[in-house]
Symmetry: C2
Subunit: 148 residues, 2 copies
């Protein structure tokens, strides 16, 4: 009877621990949010997260979802993205850095990363006399028709 917990539950607990370690209160609604976030393998927006959170605990308010997401972002536990059209979307920040490819037809998001591009970005900033703090790279694509 090992691993009684799902990976998502474990991740949620890790995030909670990290918050406590930073002196942030871990409330009932924050735990719910962390669980929802840990289970999500897409990039939901605040309203979708609220919907999912309410399935666990109906009393969680949208305002708290927004406030909590802000806290989690500040703590580096989630990342906020602002893709074209529509509101902010979130994902847990545990995974390594990556950029996003957005399927224009379905809205699906695929993660990718390129060492070369990262390097080139830093070079460009340096040439212009700047230090790169963070960046945003989004590729808006259409699925390529299969060659039959």
């Amino acid at each position: 009877m090992a691993d009684r917990k799902t990976p998502a539950q474990q991740q949620a607990e890790e995030m909670a621990a990290s918050l406590r370690a930073a002196g942030v209160r871990v409330t009932r609604q924050r735990v719910v949010l962390l669980e929802v976030l840990a289970e999500a393998d897409d990039h939901p927006d605040a309203i979708e997260l609220h919907r999912r959170a309410k399935e666990v605990d109906d009393s969680v308010s949208l305002a708290t979802v927004y406030r909590t997401l802000t806290v989690l972002e500040q703590q580096g536990v989630v990342q906020r993205h602002a893709f074209e059209g529509g509101g902010a979307r979130f994902e847990t920040a545990e995974t390594a850095h990556h950029d996003h490819l957005i399927d224009l037809e379905t809205g699906d998001v695929i993660e990718f990363s390129s060492e070369k591009i990262e390097r080139l970005q830093a070079e460009i900033c340096a040439e212009l006399g700047y230090e790169l703090i963070h960046h945003r790279l989004e590729l808006y694509c259409r699925k390529r028709p299969k060659k039959s």
Copy 2:
């Protein structure tokens, strides 16, 4: 007495001609907006464009600025950008493709372009079975302290 017109005026007229050619009505307020856009060398938002337009013709309404910007974007005459924090910002689309470096302290926008990065982006899409339609690359930077 050659070139009585400034380059910005010429550009505004070209854009107007392009609109007329596409069967789009060129109204008094659209002309004003085109002039304002042609003169701008920054990346103003709708409210700033409205402010500048009102200096030329006080009757131009904000709603019309928004409506016109949408039309101009559809016609490929301006480009809309959504940088972090705050509303959409615009620039004329005549210039060649470029990406943006945003100074986090001042909000200044510097344009740059990199053949290598463009190529890498297309490669990444291709590998994932997609066709790149357009992309967004923004570098958020801080000015590097000069080595004295």
